[in-house]
Amino acid sequence: MPFVYNFPFFSIFICMISGIVTPLLKNGRWAYRLSLFASGAGVLLSGVLLGRIGPANESFSFMMGHFPAPWGNELSVGPLEAVLATAVCLVMMMALLGGSRDIFEDVLPEKQKLYFIMMDEILAALLALTYTNDIFTAYVFIEISTIAACAIVMAKDASATLVATMRYLIMSLLGSGLVLIGIVLLYCITGHLLFPSLQQWVLELVATGQYTIPLTVVVGLIVLGLGIKSAMFPFHLWLPPAHGSATTASSSVLSGLVVKGYIILMIRLFYKVFTIEVIRELRVTNMIFLFGLAGMIIGSIGAMKEGHIKRMLAYSSVAQLGYVFMGIGLGTDIGIMAACFQILVHACTKPMLFSCASALSAGRHHNKKLHALRGAAYENKLAGIGFTVGALSMIGIPLFAGFAAKVFFASATMAQPVKMWMTLLTLALSTVLNALYYIPAVTVLWSRPAEGETGEKQPVHPAFAVSTVVFIAAVFFLGICYEPVVTLIQNGLALL
């Protein structure tokens, strides 16, 4: 077995160890550095792995502790997982860098170490959800990520935050509960926990026509549960408040990564457990499709009404996630490929938008209302440029990542006449709606402020600069050189 095959395990393990070691560290700063190290190591390990299995188009399963199923635990790794893992680690690292200043301002010193522990746990959970081949492990890490996510949302001491976190916690636990019931039912029907075995049994059940209703219920519960946790319409209402008051890194990680983890899991379950054909037969994809479309529109409409920049970005996330659900809802390989691509795109864009928004408001007494940010871009040009790049990508201007995603979504629906028109028209409408709140925001940022409204010029924070530059590069990379990435995703889906 090549040494590279150990890397997925190593990356998860490093994150968990970092979490364990952190309480022993001197202060928050060291915890921060350790977290950076963990995510950086993750990037490196996943990157090397990707470099190995991507071109070779391999996939393998890794037995943890050399114990075979059904006693041991398994990881399943292919090009898709490697790409996603690399991206997740990279985004986590950059999100931490970009929001680092705010963490140290917002979180109480005695709580800072805890904060970074939670971040490590989230990263571990995300990686695990990406790699796992076992449904119970998946559930365990779902729970871990839920609690850790709640913790990071709550980290900033404010009453509004507490209310929002409670809401998030309740919704999230509801989602987890539904998933758990689904998993239990599935275990009852099939008697297995590992994905390959589950798939075998599910196919047999479908072929013989037994337990059709329970199977449908299982799928429904899992989709519903994961959907609640990933802010699928109409269960998105917890997301905006959670973002509004959280610290920057938390918002970035929450909408850039955490919700994505559940979607990644859902996709992997669709392919590896139920097989995509069964899912299609059950018409689950149609429901997801409609919810996706609705999310795209409702999210943008909500964003238009917001004057608070972070809440606006939060609603924008709901809309962008709608794109992902729309792609999944198409039910074809191309559609899901487009959805995965959009996951990458949004993961690279939204954290940047959050950190830039925060940096822009830093000079204005942290007032995050748009009308207070007039001309803020002139005080922090990098943040202004970052925000503009992100906004243009969200709208879908060619050369930016968002446009490539739009093209893939549009091409993916070509083969399905009914869904095609709904998709195309909603895409068009969504583009316009996105423009309607992003362009005014960008305009306000770059308008010359009236006398007396200016803040002081902000010094360039190195961590923030690195983070923003990397994200901008990623946006353009995904916008221009997307071919290799897309090929990897397609191959990965085929191997799932």
Partner: protein, 491 residues
């Protein structure tokens, strides 16, 4: 001439403008020299590339086999490119004088220069993706110009412009995706790119998509009912209205429609279909609607804006005839109208600049007070009305004879619409001219005592353009011959 030179006229002004925005030039004289230099250099570059065209395609970015950003010059692109490259320097000099009293010139000239590059990109685009990219960039680059004065009306106009343009582009995006799926390539090919094996059986679908694309790109070309942004955009400073909304932006819309029809879906595919009926009807309606609204508007710039709405649909009507003669008519009106309309807007701008008067009924006796300006206005008006031998007649002639040749009743209706519009044009332009030269009894001479022509920076472009509109009409033959070659697919 090496192929890489194709990117120079596109990228150089974008960079020059961006540099200006990043490091503002405070001194007016230095800024004017910088801008004039950049624009003239670029115009020379562009004309060189347009006349001694290098062979082949310059691929700037390659996304995949079917999607790339590439530049190439063909006949239609050459016409548009030369038109823009000749008119931009004139407008720049005019703007130097005009913007003196508008302020925030650095931002204005920065985006103004960038737009020049973007428009060249539209002209040089080799495929739909490139066209779409520069089309979207055009909206973004011109938005700050429209919103320049930043007061309530300007912001409203900018917002409206943005929404309309992006919505239009979103629908054009759909058309592009269909061409990607059902066409053999996204590159512009005269006669269309639809792959018969893939397209057969899907005709109605593709025709519907064409209509979507037509209206999508048609937003920038102010087709009814999506024309609403253009009259509101006349709150922008006059050079913006003149160049952008008489020449660059709206002609980019028309140009994109031409690309969509003749080089994308192909007129053989569309001729005789219900899709042609729909788009032709829209064009015919706009022709009359625009002229009628122009007559009702007493605000001079808004009147000219509605006139543009109407005249753009002359071009669109000709294009929707879907014959080579129709393309010839459309191209000729595209060129002639640009020259005439920019003259009219410059005159309006000169009046506003010198006297702050914006309404038609305030212009009594201006024929005596601002002789050069009103003379230019009169010549341009006669051209727009279509009095032979001026340019406007030649293009209208081309359009109408092409329409008659098709034998379609709807085309005949279009000819009738052209005539009704000509009548309305006569009325709404002559109203100004007659008032200027024959003030009514009871007119108070003291009200024009202070009025005089602007200085040379503004009057010279005016005179050059008036002369151009006369010469173009007289010397139309060689131009028409070139257009005919383009329409035959030879250039």
């Amino acid at each position: 001439m090496p192929v890489w030179m194709l990117c120079l006229p596109v990228l150089f002004p974008i960079l020059a403008g961006a540099v200006m925005l990043a490091r503002p030039i405070e001194d007016r004289k230095k800024r004017q020299i910088y801008v004039a230099g950049a624009v003239i250099v670029n115009a020379v570059l562009a004309l060189t590339v347009l006349i001694w065209t290098p062979d082949g395609v310059l691929t700037l970015l390659r996304f995949s086999d079917t999607m790339q950003i590439a530049l190439q010059i063909d006949g239609a692109g050459r016409v548009f490119g030369i038109l823009v490259s000749l008119l931009w320097p004139l407008t720049t000099f005019y703007s130097f004088e005009y913007m003196k009293h508008e302020g925030r010139e650095n931002k204005f000239f920065g985006f103004f220069t960038m737009t020049f590059g973007v428009i060249e990109g539209v002209a040089f685009a080799d495929n739909f993706l490139t066209l779409y990219l520069f089309y979207e960039l055009l909206t973004l680059a011109t938005l700050p110009l429209v919103m320049h004065s930043m007061d309530g009306r300007a912001r409203y106009a900018g917002k409206k412009y943005l929404i309309y343009s992006l919505s239009g582009a979103a629908f054009a995006f759909i058309a592009m995706i269909f061409l990607l799926t059902y066409g053999s390539t996204l590159d512009f090919t005269f006669g269309g790119v639809l792959d018969p094996s893939r397209a057969s059986g899907h005709e109605t679908l593709l025709q519907t998509v064409f209509v979507l694309g037509f209206f999508g790109f048609g937003v920038k070309a102010a087709i009814f009912p999506f024309h609403g942004w253009l009259p509101d955009a006349s709150v922008a400073p006059t050079p913006v209205s003149a160049l952008l909304h008489a020449v660059a932006v709206v002609k980019a819309g028309v140009f994109a429609v031409i690309r969509l029809t003749y080089y994308g879906f192909g007129c053989d595919f569309l001729r005789g279909s219900w899709a042609q009926t729909v788009v032709m009807t829209a064009a015919v309606v706009t022709i009359v609607y625009g002229s009628a609204m122009a007559l009702r508007t007493p605000h001079l710039k808004r009147r000219l804006a509605y006139s543009t709405v109407s005249n753009l649909s002359y071009i669109l009507f000709s294009v929707t005839l879907m014959t080579p003669a129709g393309l010839v008519g459309g191209l000729s009106h595209m060129v002639f109208h640009a020259v005439i309309k920019i003259t009219l807007f410059f005159c309006a701008g000169a009046i506003i600049y010198k006297t702050h008067r914006e309404y038609v009924y305030q212009l009594d006796d201006f024929g005596r007070a601002m002789p050069v300006t009103m003379a230019a206005f009169t010549i341009a008006s006669l051209g727009l009305m279509g009095i032979p031998p001026l340019a406007g007649f030649v293009s209208k002639w081309g359009i109408a004879t092409a329409a008659v040749e098709t034998g379609m009743p709807l085309a005949y209706a279009g000819v009738a619409a052209l005539i009704v519009s000509a009548l309305l044009t006569a009325l709404y332009l002559m109203a100004v001219v007659l008032r200027a030269y024959f003030p009514a009894k009871g007119f108070d001479p003291a009200s024009v005592k202070e009025v005089e022509d602007p200085n040379r920076l503004m009057t010279v472009p005016l005179l050059v353009l008036s002369a151009a509109s006369v010469l173009l009409g007289l010397c139309a033959s060689p131009l028409i011959a070139v257009f005919e070659q383009i329409a035959a697919g030879l250039l």
